[in-house]
Symmetry: C2
Subunit: 442 residues, 2 copies
């Protein structure tokens, strides 16, 4: 698999749909996945929705010889659902929990309990440092009325921040996961442009899978086609992305996805299709430190301008979220005040018969206590919601502040673009990592 | 302040004790702090416990000419309390919220509501990238019976992970903040050894301040000396730390702290003492890429071994925390079950008179409802606590997993130490960043 100067890496990503007691044929599907992985021996396996640690441990046992290294990321109430298996040693692991992730009272959506996050494991592959990221963003339950959009935009913002800031020392970056976003959605574009990650579907030399690379498809028997809305055939929301560095160039040789069924099995691996990308690493032995061409500079300037637009668009989305949360916070506060007023009113009415305890009560004692309990419940719920919405507001404001800072910094760099023509070539590649990487890929 | 090849940087850190309505002389103290900062014009200002955004905005207005760049980190319910001001442009900001931070029901301690975190701002200083971190860890309310120790250990673990992973592309790293840990505490040692950060107090050429560099001192009028316990004079829990890189060497020229009073003012700036460190940056123009000496290798091996011990010690602390949370989780579950049993019992007893609604009730209706409400409150509280403890458990387990991985990786590197003598010099500096930096500082 390796020659003198090139290494081939096979990367696997799958949303396993592993909800205990709820996901159909869970155990059978895990055994199919385990069998596939131990047969195919991908170098890097990135799994999402492995909600039960027991299932992870089962896979770990099964893959102990094919994939001796693994890490399971714990987070939230149920877990993050993120797991990695590797044939190369994992030297370090780190988890970033997204600051926003739905609402605990939307229990039927369940995202909040999952503690959505991005995990990174650091591998050494042929003497090179690979930062391998796995993530799963908040689900999109309705495309027309997507109340979670600001949360997902903040998640993608934090994701790109995390990748950019933690990959400074890496020779290559690989990201796999279920982004719950279409390729042309703001979040996907922002992620690609700000980190410089390349989408294996658009970059691959060879593709085998459904038309358009869709990974949530109508033909999958676990999918209710109605949920796909206007996208009759399906949508592409699972990705494998990658980028090299000044030391390594990376290209995608092939990408394959399943098509809703598995030969010899009555059902597919999951409700999502699985992705397998084959990447080719080529060591860059000679640095071409010459002046960048005018063309390159123009392309970089165009990308920066594009990025400014995207971050501005993301800011607008976050502002919409802020507007909503401010309204909800106000409603919670008002409800709390009403509950308190009702309680005080009740106490005032009850005060006189209370003093004459033995007399025939004008305010029936049962109703008195029931009403009191109700007022208290309203007060408590309103208080908890108020605290929760305040935290949501703080996270949204924090993301917006960071975005404003980024737009300012980008615009300044954009202004300086033509005169820095000569200077640019003096920069080290890592200088380019702040918000727009634009590294030479070959 | 700058000559050809050296730059001097003045870094300021202060826990401002800015709790609205509670902290004494808050506004007067902020005006003193603002006046000091605009007069002294430190390059980098790192503030903690700026709990109110209004106070931050007040400072921002006051420092608009001396410190044109600033960032306020938002988190939790009240905020993270973290703020930075800088004379150099802030290009990017990113926040990591610690996964554990006390308990919401310990409202009198308040840490949970503060959303403790570590913030980083990226500055460009003389063409160099500086990663500047500011943080504030969970308070230590009792040294003998410190129930928050596992939380603080996990926070310091996440802090060192965050610094190590995000500083790969940085030319220099500066950290300021209130760690709430003594210099010889496990957390401080772990932080220093794993990140390679140098403590300005132990490294400085010149020191002006209280004996032992203490920053929470008995002489401060806002301090109750009883809270210092056996440390009669005070403790050192506020730090400025720094490190260079292969491109820049950094040394601490001087460190100064206040001594509990401010000339010309009736009270000090805060209940903590402020720190001012003067750092000298020297560009490394020539790389000494020669083989490392035997001595250096031995020192590195000793440091690695030390780090293994520390991470193992931290793991033990986390395991103690896990043991506690498992007990608390069990108690919450048992209480919930008892509440449910009581509710069912009550319903069963009440069932017969319920059917004969008009008759003289054997179970008084008032008591019936009161008891019902009580059972329901028990059930709800137990459920919320159970969910909270489950999340705490997941975070502790996650940190322990990461620590186990780190110990394994470190031990492996330690084993390989003597034979890699020759190879070592071929490594790039960033290779050394995983868990033990040990960069050449000159």
């Amino acid at each position: 698999m390796e020659d003198n100067n090139t290494i081939r890496l096979r990367v696997f990503s799958l949303n396993c749909w592993g909800i205990r007691y709820l996901s159909k044929h869970r155990l059978e599907r895990y055994s199919m996945i385990g069998e596939l992985l131990s047969r195919e021996q991908h170098d890097i396996v990135l799994l999402q929705e492995v909600w039960s640690e027991k299932d992870f441990l089962g896979l770990k046992r099964e893959l102990s010889s094919s994939h001796p290294y693994s890490h399971y990321f714990k987070s939230g109430v149920i877990g993050s659902g993120l797991a990695t298996f590797a044939r190369h040693q994992i030297h370090d692991a780190f988890l970033y929990r997204y600051s926003l992730n739905g609402y605990p009272y939307m229990a039927h959506h369940g995202d909040w309990f999952g503690g959505k996050a991005v995990g990174v494991v650091i591998l050494k592959i042929g003497g090179l440092t690979a930062n391998v990221y796995v993530t799963h963003l908040h689900a999109e339950y309705s495309r027309d009325k997507d109340s979670y959009l600001p949360h997902r935009v903040v998640q993608v913002w934090e994701l790109q921040q995390f990748i950019r800031h933690t990959s400074g020392g890496a020779d290559m970056v690989i990201l796999g996961g279920d982004l719950n976003m279409h390729p042309q959605d703001l979040g996907t574009r922002l992620l690609r442009t700000s980190t410089g990650l390349l989408d294996s579907y658009t970059e691959t030399a060879k593709f085998d899978g459904c038309e358009g690379g869709i990974t949530l498809i109508a033909e999958n028997p676990f999918i209710n086609p109605k949920e796909l809305g206007p996208f009759e055939k399906g949508v592409r929301i699972d990705y494998i992305m990658y980028k090299g560095s000044g030391r390594v160039s990376l290209r995608c040789v092939s990408l394959a996805t399943t098509k809703g069924s598995v030969p010899g099995h009555p059902f597919p691996y999951s409700d999502h299709e699985l992705l397998t990308a084959e990447l080719e690493l080529q060591m860059i032995t000679q640095h071409t430190e010459g002046n960048r061409t005018r063309e390159e500079l123009d392309r970089n300037a165009a990308k920066l301008a594009e990025l400014v637009d995207m971050v501005t668009e993301a800011r607008t989305e976050v502002k919409v979220g802020l507007h909503c949360v401010e309204r909800m916070r106000y409603t919670a506060a008002r409800t709390g005040v009403m509950g308190l007023a009702l309680l005080l009113l009740e106490l005032a009415i009850g005060a006189v018969p209370w003093l004459a305890l033995g007399a025939n009560q004008p305010f029936p004692r049962t109703s008195f206590y029931l009403l009191g309990a109700l007022c208290f419940a309203i007060l408590l719920t309103a208080f908890l919601l108020y605290v929760f919405y305040t935290m949501e507001q703080k996270s949204l404001q924090g993301a917006e502040d960071q975005m404003r800072l980024a737009v300012g910094s980008l615009q300044e760099r954009l202004k300086e673009f033509p005169p820095t023509h000569a200077l640019n070539s003096l920069r080290r590649p890592s200088d380019d990592l702040d918000l727009c990487p634009l590294e030479p890929e070959e």
